[in-house]
Structure formats: C-alpha cells, structure tokens
C-alpha cells in the first residue's frame, strides 16, 4: 500500500484515521477510443467518513460520475481503464480484489443511487421484485419474505400504501416516487457508504426538497457516509459537510462547506459561485468563466484551468499545481491558493 499522499499530510502509513470508510487515492482512469485516449480522471483523491456528506461538485465532463462508477466497479471496460490508483474500503484496496470479493461489498458495503430512475429500473418487473432481488440472491430469502421486506423499505422511504404499491411497475410511479424506489433499493442491504449520482437533477424543486430531506434523514439514522455527486451549488450548500470541486478529472479544491462558500480558494470555484443567478436578489450582469471546459483528449499543459483563468501567470501553463493542504480543513490545487485565502 502506498503511503505517499500529497493532499493530506495527516494521513500516515502507520494507520488509517478512525472513521474513514472509503478512500480514493490518486485514481487515474482513461477511455481508449478510436479517436484517441481521453484522460478522464487524472489523480483524484478523496475520502468519506461514517455519518458524513461529501459533495463532489463539477460540470459535465469533470469526471465526477466516472469516479463513482469506478468505485462501484461498473466502469465500462473497454473503453474505460484504471491506469493507476487505489480505492480502499475499510483499508482494503478494492481494485486488487476478485470480482467475487467486490460483489460482496456492493450493496451492503457501498451502494449507489442513479440519476435517471426511469432507465435505471427495469420496466417489466414490479418494483417489489426488483428491490427484493437483493434479499433473495444475497440473503437467500424466499420470494414472499423478500417482497415483505421490500414493502417495509418502501414504507421507510415514505411511499404511501407501500403494501399495494410494491406490486406496481415503475411506469406507475411519478418521477419523485421512482427516485424513492431507487433509494429504497440502494438501502436494502444497509450500506455503509451511499453514492448518490445527481439524485434530484431530473426532479422539480418541490420534489427535490422532499428527496434531499429523505436522504438526509436516512443518513442520520443509519450513520452512512454519503457521497453526493451534483452540479447544483444550491443543493450542496444545503446538505454537504465537505465539498470536493472537480475540473478536468482533478480535484481542484476541497474544503468544509462553510469555508468554501465564504472564501473559495480556487479561481474555478470563485468563477462558479459568481456565475449563478441568485433567487434572493435581481442582480446585475452575471460574471462568467470565459471559454469552454477542456477537451479531455487534449488537456492543457500545467494547470488544466489556466486558459480560462483570470489570474493565470506563466507558471500556470508549465507546472501542474498539486492539491496542497492550506489548513486542516481545506486544500486547493492552485499556484496562488495562499494569496486567495489571505485576500481581504
């Protein structure tokens, strides 16, 4: 096991800090396609503790979902390949495990809630059958018991009339209710870590509020570690404890939620926060981040953000800034992070 970890000096080879459930370390993933190699993840390091919500924030193509897929072991290979790195669950590197060992972790160790509930659920089976599948296969329950347990779960995610609805098909549920079914399914085996990949993106705001409440309640009850993958800065401010901001397959900033919103320490985070319209004021012209996210087949040299960065200096195109710890609770991958933190 490697004990080099630039991002987190607290980490030492002597032992894993208590409570760290899942650790991703220096993960590299590339997609080998006909047109070339896209470096989708270039050294992602993060961890989640029991009972904690880590928000992974990023725009499309930043690699936030691919990281989650790699953790779950559902990365499409080919074209996706892990070229480097470790994913440790309770200290054991999952990337070195056999398929059987990994399957044992899925569901009761780490579970995932997917974004699009309509395509993630099988339209030809009842929701009860799909939730109960885990009980039948993993716990060897009978069909009847599995269905009863499935109804209990639907009840826990606050679906009214759970006993009847367990026999219904996914198309008979509304978008919000289907997302509840997805959550029930992921909770079936009582996972220690839950990864929620954009769980509310397809939902309306009033329903989004219901689902986020539900997730927060369930997490508190079960003391799960929650990894919330999203692009919505509003949702993150409501529920996250810590935030990791991703850009071009790297973590560019990691911080406690209050520090990040009060004083972002990376120009990309600053740009993101300035470019969202606010509900509480009319506001003037929006500040924007110029240009476009990079093509992952041709990631700019040095800091991948430098072509769009208002602060860029010559050093930015030459040297990749490492993710440096600025204080125990925050880290930033910018050559000028210190100045950003110390600014008025």
């Amino acid at each position: 096991m490697s004990d080099v970890m630039v991002a987190d000096p607290q980490y030492s080879a002597s032992g894993r800090p208590a409570g760290r459930l899942l650790e991703v370390e220096d993960l590299h993933v590339e997609f080998r396609t006909r047109d070339g190699v896209a470096r989708v993840i270039n050294g992602v390091t993060y961890h989640v503790n029991a009972g904690e919500t880590l928000a992974v924030l990023g725009e499309s193509g930043s690699g936030k979902s691919v990281t989650a897929q790699t953790i779950m072991g559902i990365l499409d290979t080919p074209p996706g390949f892990v070229t480097k790195g470790q994913i440790r669950f309770h200290g054991d590197d999952m990337l070195q495990m056999s398929a059987d060992q990994r399957r044992k972790i899925r569901g009761n160790g780490i579970a995932m809630v997917f974004q699009d509930s309509l395509s993630a659920l099988n339209p030809v089976f009842t929701v009860g059958f799909q939730i109960g599948e885990q009980f039948r296969i993993r716990l060897g329950m009978s069909r009847k018991d599995a269905k009863r347990k499935a109804a209990d779960l639907l009840d826990q995610v606050k679906i009214p009339n759970a006993r009847q609805r367990v026999n219904e098909f996914p198309h008979q549920f509304s978008g919000g209710m289907r997302q509840r079914v997805m959550i029930a399914m992921s909770l079936a085996l009582d996972p220690e870590v839950l990864i929620a990949d954009e769980p509310t993106t397809a939902l309306d705001v009033t329903v989004q509020a219901q689902i986020m409440d539900l997730l927060a309640d369930l997490q508190r009850e079960r003391q799960m570690g929650l990894i919330l993958i999203t692009h919505d800065l509003g949702v993150v401010a409501d529920v996250a404890d810590r935030i990791a901001v991703m850009y071009a397959g790297r973590i560019v900033e990691e911080a406690n939620v209050h520090e990040l919103y009060a004083k972002p320490a990376h120009p990309y985070t600053i740009g993101l926060l300035e470019s969202i319209p606010r509900i509480d004021e009319k506001g003037q012209e929006l500040r924007t981040i110029k240009g476009l996210p990079p093509n992952l087949m041709r990631i700019p040299s040095g800091c991948p953000f430098h072509p769009r960065c208002p602060m860029a200096q010559p050093v930015c195109s030459e040297k990749v800034p490492p993710l440096l710890q600025l204080s125990p609770s925050r880290a930033s991958a910018c050559h000028f992070a210190e100045e950003l933190v110390n600014r008025a």
Partner: protein
C-alpha cells in the same frame, strides 16, 4: 403605459385521450393549458415558471402557432393571429421566433451552421436577397459571439453552449420583435449558462426584443425577467413584477416553490424555512375541482373545492393572485432572518 405587443386571452389547449384503434373514441381530455391570459409589453421579458406538466411548453407551442389552440384569442398588435392566413401569417411568423430547449436535437446534424442560420431567408427572401445571405449569416454569428469563420462547420463540432448560440442566431435571423425562449439554458452547465443569459440580455438591449422566457429554474427567471407568471396545472397561479412575485408572493404555491429553491449559501441552513408540499402534482387529465392547488395546499377550505379562484388583485395582494386566501408571507431566502 407602454403598448402590449402580444395579448393572450383565455388560451385553452386540450389534448384528447382516445381509446380503440379502428373506432377511436375520446374518453377524456388532458387539460394542458386551461384558460391562460397574459400580455407581453414591448421590450420587456415576461418569465413563465412552473414545474413539469404545468403547461408552460404547451403555451409556447401554441403561441408559435405550432399547435392549434382549443380556444384562444391572441392579439399581435391588436390583430388576432389565429385568424390570419397566407401572406399575413407569413409576415407574422417573421415577428415571433422560438429558441428551443435542447441544443442537441434542435439543430439538423446534416446541415452546416451557415445553412441552419440562413434557412429562414429562403422563405423570407425580402430580409436578405440571395447574394447577401452568407454575409448576413456571418454577421449573425458575430452578434451571438461565435467566430464567422465557423460558418461551414456542422453542429457536432460545437459544444452545448455554442449550439445554443446557433439556435439564438437562427431565431434572430429575421429580426423578430418577440422571441419565445423555451428553457434555453436548462441543458447547459453553470459556467456556460451565465454566458448565454448575458447574451440574451445583450441582444434584448441591442435589438429592443421582447422575450417570453419559459423556465423551471426560478433563479434564472428572476435574473432575466421584468414580470413573472407562475403556472400550476395549466393555469396561472400568480402574476406580477419580478419584485412582487419574489419578494411579496401571495399564492401558497408560489410561496412553497420559492421556499424549496436551494440557496447557494450554507449559512442559511438553519434560518430558512422550507414549506414542504406533500404528494405530487395531480394529473392534468383529471384536475381537482375548484382551485387546482387545493390538494396540496395547507390553507385549503371548503370554498377551494367549490369555486375556482379568479386571477385578480385581492385585499391581501397587490398583484393578481389566484387564491381565495391570498396574503403575503415572508419567504426566508438566504441570510435575512424572516417570519415563518
């Protein structure tokens, strides 16, 4: 008072629900839009917000005359657009243009950008005679912030934000007076969304456009709109200036909607109160009697089931609100402490 450029009166669009294959029988109506009246003042942006299924996109399609309304009077500068025919209709179409939501499917992948933006000129030859078209298209590309040299590229060579700019350039080609924007930024990333919103504002100032801006994102609508209409299940729940709707909402639905919007400020976590609505939006094929929001409303009384509340100003409301019990309520957004 400035002139209303577009007046919509009692717009109704029902879709029939049919049964049977050979002998089709209508067994019901999906009441997508059920009596919407509003007006668009010259040079303003009218925001239309609502959740999915509230009829806001149907409204756009009917206004564009892509679908015939079940019943409606829509006056463009005093003339009824559904009574127009032939040349008059064609001239009208020049004046009202649409920017669509999905920049990936609304552009034909087999056409170059030049053809896409120049296509309106084929029908409306008076705007750009044949020889000048290419130059016109290049000017348009420049106006929307794209490089004129990209005129021969295909849509797949552009990113989402750039494609949305192409869609906007196409809508601008005929120098319209009104642009109906149907969720123009919802498919875009945050950093790109801001660029497109700024572009829309710039174009409005430059060309004196009037926008009908349809979106589900309340923050985006507030940022761009002068007036806002909130829709629920095919009806307008509340309409007023941006300030009236966001600072002094009087309809319970608007209040719940605003309170549910996540605010990008973690310090507001403990101070804000979210009004939690239970349940889902009822089906528009079988909407509740009386007030359509009553099934999810915490203020519902007997009268709400019997009487449809009219969209009028009431004692508790300084702007039209379709609630029998309309009254102000502090919606706690961000750091300002409020009364819940």
């Amino acid at each position: 008072m400035p002139e209303a450029i577009l007046e919509v009166k009692e717009l109704v669009k029902h879709y029939p629900v049919t049964q049977g294959i050979v002998f089709k029988k209508t067994i019901g109506q999906v009441k997508a839009v059920d009596g919407v009246s509003l007006e668009l003042i010259e040079g303003e942006t009218l925001g239309v917000v609502g959740e999915s299924g509230c009829g806001k996109s149907t409204l756009a399609r009917v206004l564009m005359n892509l679908e015939k309304p079940t019943a409606a009077t829509v006056l463009y500068r005093g003339e009824d657009i559904y009574k127009m025919q032939g040349g008059a209709m064609r001239r009208l179409r020049r004046q009202i243009q649409l920017v669509m939501q999905d920049p990936y499917t609304s552009l034909n992948p087999r056409m170059t950008v030049g053809d896409l933006i120049g296509e309106p000129f084929e029908i409306h030859t008076e705007v750009a005679p044949k020889g000048s078209r290419r130059q016109k298209v290049q000017e348009l590309l420049e106006v929307v912030g794209l490089s004129p040299e990209h005129i021969n590229r295909y849509p797949h060579q552009f990113s989402g934000g750039q494609r949305q700019r192409i869609g906007i350039a196409r809508a601008l080609a005929l120098r319209p007076e009104i642009i109906v924007c149907d969720e123009p930024v919802s498919a875009l990333d945050v950093s790109i969304q801001a660029q497109v919103m700024n572009l829309l504002e710039k174009l409005q100032n430059e060309f004196g456009l009037s926008y009908i801006f349809i979106a589900h994102d309340l923050s985006v609508v507030r940022h761009l709109s002068d007036r806002v209409a909130v829709m629920y299940l095919g009806k307008i729940a509340e309409i007023g200036t941006e300030d009236e709707i966001y600072e002094r909402p009087t309809h319970p639905y608007t209040q719940a909607l605003l309170s549910a919007v996540p605010v990008p400020d973690p310090t507001s976590r403990d101070t804000k109160t979210i009004i939690r609505l239970t349940g889902d939006v009822p089906s528009p094929a079988n909407p509740p009697s009386g007030c359509r929001f009553r099934t999810r409303c915490w203020k519902a009384q007997d009268i709400c089931a019997k009487e449809v509340p009219a969209l009028v100003e009431r004692p508790g409301s300084d702007h039209p609100s379709a609630c029998h019990f309309a009254e102000k309520r502090e919606i706690v957004v961000t750091h300002e402490a409020g009364v819940a």
